[in-house]
């Protein structure tokens, strides 16, 4: 069936394109850093990229329902702060607390969107203030107490295993399962045609709230990852993740109107952004250029995508 094959290729165009881009970036990267493919490098880099990867997955989950989360950075910082503050009482408990808080913020956002008829963009913009304030209350000054053993194992490898990499793979596997459940299909259905889904008996509100809560879990994990990577919490560190998670999702081909997009592509896109940022540092340019690069990459990527897919959409 050549049609099916072509369809499959087209469906995975984003993944294939991003994969090729990553190969190019890795080649350039190894030119500057010959130790790139050693376990130590891989561990360090995956620890560094994990927060953005998970944040991108969270943003994508929301975007699939046709929403957007501008409070993502604040929630990420909040989860980080909660984890750092409660880590004294045992890491598992702290992780559960952080994830619960993050999921709850997502559920609140989702409820406001689903029941109050407020557009996601304005809800989450206002929520970014709210959660930002809560974070400052939880952790007014950067600090907290993440056990140094954990920090070391996470950043340097645990018995030769790159923990962050394991987390990302595990989350991807979980998503793959979620996607094949009724909830997963509902998520895509609500994003693709909300009214139609409702008329067909899909509980659209529940689906939306769950999607925001699920995104909260992803973002919470990102916050925990960032806390473990840096060894502390910081209320002001979350902001860039909002833009970058949107950038990654859009790069990955997740549609603003919902219903279209793949998580694997979001992961790859987050990797591309991370690698680009690191490469920039290698070239010896001032880190000040980092922001400019991010903005330009975002515009160029979307433009290329728009014009590459124009034939299909018109």
């Amino acid at each position: 069936m050549p049609d099916a094959l072509a369809g499959r290729l087209r469906g995975n165009l984003d993944v294939v394109g991003l994969g090729a881009l990553i190969v190019v970036l890795l080649a350039a990267y190894s030119h500057y850093d010959s130790t790139l493919f050693t376990p130590a490098s891989i561990t360090i880099l995956s620890a560094q990229f994990l927060p953005l990867i998970l944040a991108a997955m969270g943003q994508s989950a929301v975007m699939l329902t046709g929403g957007i989360d501008l409070s993502l950075g604040s929630v990420l910082a909040l989860a980080m702060a909660v984890f750092a503050v409660t880590a004294d009482h045992g890491v598992p408990l702290a992780a559960v607390c952080a994830l619960a808080v993050a999921a709850a913020t997502g559920a609140v956002n989702g409820t406001l969107v689903a029941f109050a008829g407020l557009p996601p963009i304005i809800v989450t913009l206002a929520a970014s203030f709210l959660w930002g304030g809560v974070t400052l209350i939880v952790l007014p000054q950067p600090g907290g107490s993440v056990p140094s053993g954990l920090v070391k194992a996470y950043n340097d490898g645990w018995n030769g295993v790159a923990l962050p990499l394991v987390v990302v793979v595990a989350v991807l596997v979980v998503w793959k399962l979620v996607k094949t459940t009724r909830f997963g299909l509902s998520l895509y259905a609500v994003g693709g045609n909300e009214h139609g889904a409702y008329a067909s008996g899909v509980k659209t509100r529940t689906v939306k709230i769950s999607a925001y809560a699920l995104a909260g879990v992803f973002v919470g994990l990102a916050g925990i990852g960032l806390a473990v990577q840096t060894g502390s919490g910081d209320a002001t560190i979350g902001a860039p993740y909002t833009l970058n998670s949107i950038a990654a999702s859009v790069l990955a081909g997740v549609s603003f109107f919902g219903g279209v997009g793949q998580m694997r592509a979001a992961v790859l896109a987050a990797l591309v952004i991370g690698l680009l940022t690191n490469l920039l540092l290698f070239t010896g340019l001032s880190p000040f250029y980092q922001l400019i690069l991010q903005g330009v990459v975002l515009i160029v990527a979307i433009t290329v995508k728009t014009f590459a897919t124009r034939e299909r959409t018109e």
Partner: protein, 318 residues
């Protein structure tokens, strides 16, 4: 079939006049502030509020133009800093007038770039303006090497701090800008195009609405006004900083929406934005007066905005 219309018409009138709601909420809040908080009953406090609200208000007027055509401009925060920083830098070498002109020119340029991206590159407005905002922020870092200058420019100083007949000049400037915006949006041809675009892009195209001109005017005006606000802020504080625009990103959008304009476009009134900006400035001042910690203040403001949105800014379900 239209026998029972009065009630429908009444409801619709209320919804269409959410801008009036905004003024109502403002008056109630102001009255409450005078009754229950200290220091809100003096002429000087009114003066101070109108003066500080002007910075936000000028930006929010521009934001209204963009939101009305169902766009959004998240680059205003960076543009505020851009015009102030560039003006301070240029005026150090070439004098205040040159600084002001260059500051406004680069602001306008950002707006035109936004329009190009939205129009020709077909980047969604939110992403385009987030991206240009980031680029501008990065460029400012590079341009100033991380340490922007301060500048005392006579014209800006008096614009921000002087009064005519007891009324702050900044407020007068804001009202003048509002008057022009009211004409542009509610009485001119361009306004009709903006509302049409905000309601339906496809229908507008098939009706011969000039998408290009309208988009350039809206984004250009929005960035230009953010630039003006940046200059007034520079006059107010006599220093420029890279983060001076940050609060205005959320607050300008909140002003527009609390002023009764639909975030989805096509519905609302510029005057509502004036009430929205005054309301938010008042709330911020109240929270500051109560001596709350930064965190509690932010949280409360967020909660208040959400509560107000729930009260009267809901979108109709379709």
């Amino acid at each position: 079939m239209m026998t029972a219309l009065p009630r429908t018409a009444g409801l619709r009138a209320l919804r269409d006049h959410r801008a009036a709601w905004a003024f109502g909420v403002l008056l109630v809040t102001w009255a409450a502030a005078i009754l229950f908080a200290n220091g809100f009953d003096s002429v000087s406090s009114v003066r101070y509020l109108t003066q500080t609200a002007s910075f936000l208000g000028i930006i929010a007027i521009g934001q209204t133009l963009v939101v009305m055509m169902s766009g959004i401009d998240l680059s205003v925060s960076s543009v505020v800093a851009l015009s102030a920083v560039v003006c301070a830098q240029v005026s150090a070498g070439h004098g205040g007038a040159a600084g002001i002109l260059v500051g406004l020119a680069v602001s306008l340029l950002v707006g035109l770039v936004n329009a190009v991206g939205v129009l020709w590159l077909r980047v969604p407005p939110m992403v385009m303006t987030l991206a240009t905002g980031t680029i501008v922020a990065g460029s400012l870092l590079v341009y100033t090497n991380g340490s922007p200058k301060s500048a005392k420019i006579g014209l800006l100083d008096s614009l921000a701090n002087d009064r005519v007949a007891g009324i702050p000049l900044a407020f007068v400037l804001w009202l003048a800008i509002t008057a022009v915006a009211v004409w542009l949006l509610h009485a001119s041809r361009v306004g009709r195009y903006v509302f049409a675009l905000g309601t339906s892009q496809e229908a507008s195209r098939a009706s011969g609405v000039p998408l290009g001109v309208t988009t350039f005017i809206a984004y250009g005006a929005c960035a230009l006004l953010a630039g003006v606000a940046g200059l007034v802020l520079l006059g107010f504080t006599a220093t420029s900083s890279l983060t001076m625009g940050n609060p205005y990103q959320l607050l300008s959008i909140a002003s527009v929406v609390l002023g009764g304009t639909s975030i989805l476009g096509g519905r609302g009134h510029v005057l509502g934005t004036v009430a929205g900006a005054l309301l938010l400035t008042l709330l911020t001042a109240l929270l500051t007066a109560w001596n709350l910690s930064e965190g509690v203040r932010q949280m409360t403001l967020g909660l208040l905005i959400i509560a107000l949105l729930l009260a009267y800014a809901r979108e109709r379900r379709t």
